[in-house]
Amino acid sequence: MGAVRLELVRPSGAGASSEHEAGERVPVRVRVIDSALDCIARQGVAKTTLDDVARQAGCSRATVYRVFPGGKEGVLSAVVDTEVSRFFSALAVRMGQAGDLEDVLVEGMTEAATRITRHGALSYLLCHEPEVVLPQLAFARMDDVLATASAFTSPFLGRWLDHDEAVRVAEWAARIVVSYLACPAEDVDLTNISEVRALVRTFVLPGIRSLSERGRDDADDGDEGAVPSTGRDRRTPYGGTPDTTSTTSTTKGEAS
């Protein structure tokens, strides 16, 4: 992932804009990136030429080359970096507004699923040119994706979880989103916030409680730790947690 360029975030965040005309104050770099997204959403990566992108952006091919000396490869890599940045900025906005642990998970997972599902260029590629994207999203590369997602989103869980827990839970939440999007389930739609809430209440919050208990038990036992450590001493789990988890159904006793 390249440097996070927050200034590139579009207020609407929706599809790229064909109405960006030359002369507007949108920097040419952004116009080229959005045009490339439009082209990819329409015809994929293989068929998209720099001429297509330049025409869509309302500039010359020479201008595209001036901004992206790497040509098509350079544009594509900027597109990926930009979309990753936009994705995580949007997640940050949504997760930053959440009032409790349940909400931060529900809002974050819904936002992520919605953005991924409605991403025109990504949808086109997954459907028509999977060979372009899947190698970036499988096996060890998916481990990288999960680590990136966790690194970026775990701070937003940090209000309710200690550092290690937040890192683990963020990775787990990303894993759940990816799993349900990779193979759509009949009865679970992660773009529907109430369905995400049901999933979080049913499977995720009890899991977080058990992770915390396990971590605490390990700390008490002073052993190596049954859950992998991410390298920091543990604080009391759920320190300062708002009373959100008690709203979920559980019959688990607290005695260990």
């Binding site: 799993s179 499977f203 899991g207 992998p228």
Partner: protein, 192 residues
């Protein structure tokens, strides 16, 4: 014993191990199997593409067949999940042909694997349902949603374990009792 179709698949697999997915031809497979091209086409009328898809499907199912053999004697749901995760991860890492093709031709293999993997969610969840029947589930948990959730998670951890080390039995036991089963089962699983 094995029919010609099986012979062709095995021969194709040998060729894929040697040449990769893209370079293996019907001719290679026929020669390796000691059969004529016409015979190969009789079983795989779609030619090379059908043959390659079939060999990926066949190996994929074989992998899950081995996984099934590994876990079917398990006495409890926890044991099924623990043994399954550990075995599958190890088998995947030690699968030389898979690892080689993942390195050299991910663009060819992964679209095919994704198709197979989507079918597998149903297979795994179907296998888990009887085990779930033996447990009291947490209030409000539907057995089929739980099985579906577990199947997805299992596939995910096997291919991309993230920070979990599935070679460490202690971590596998913790994973099963937290991220997999904590929300599914009513009572805390007995900790040995």
């Amino acid at each position: 014993m094995d029919g010609p179709r099986q012979r062709v698949l095995e021969a194709t697999y040998v060729c894929v191990a040697r040449w990769g997915l893209s370079k293996t031809t019907v001719e290679d497979a026929a020669r390796e199997a000691g059969l004529s091209r016409a015979t190969v086409y009789r079983y795989f009328p779609g030619g090379r593409d059908e043959l390659i898809d079939a060999v990926v499907s066949w190996q994929y199912l074989r992998f899950f067949g081995r996984l099934y053999e590994e876990v079917r004697g398990a006495g409890s749901l926890e044991e099924v999940l623990e043994r399954g995760l550990a075995f599958a991860r190890q088998a995947l890492l030690e699968h030389e042909v898979l690892q080689k093709v993942l390195q050299t031709e991910p663009d060819v293999l992964l679209p095919k694997l994704t198709v197979e993997s989507n079918r597998t969610v149903g297979l795994i969840s179907g296998f888990l349902v009887p085990y779930l029947h033996e447990h009291a589930l947490a209030p409000g948990v539907d057995i089929h949603s739980a099985a579906d959730f577990l199947a997805r998670m299992i596939l995910s951890y096997i291919s991309s374990p993230g920070h979990w080390d599935l070679g460490d039995p202690v971590q596998v036991a913790a994973l099963v009792r937290t991220e997999l089963l904590a929300g599914v089962l009513a009572a805390r699983p007995a900790v040995g």
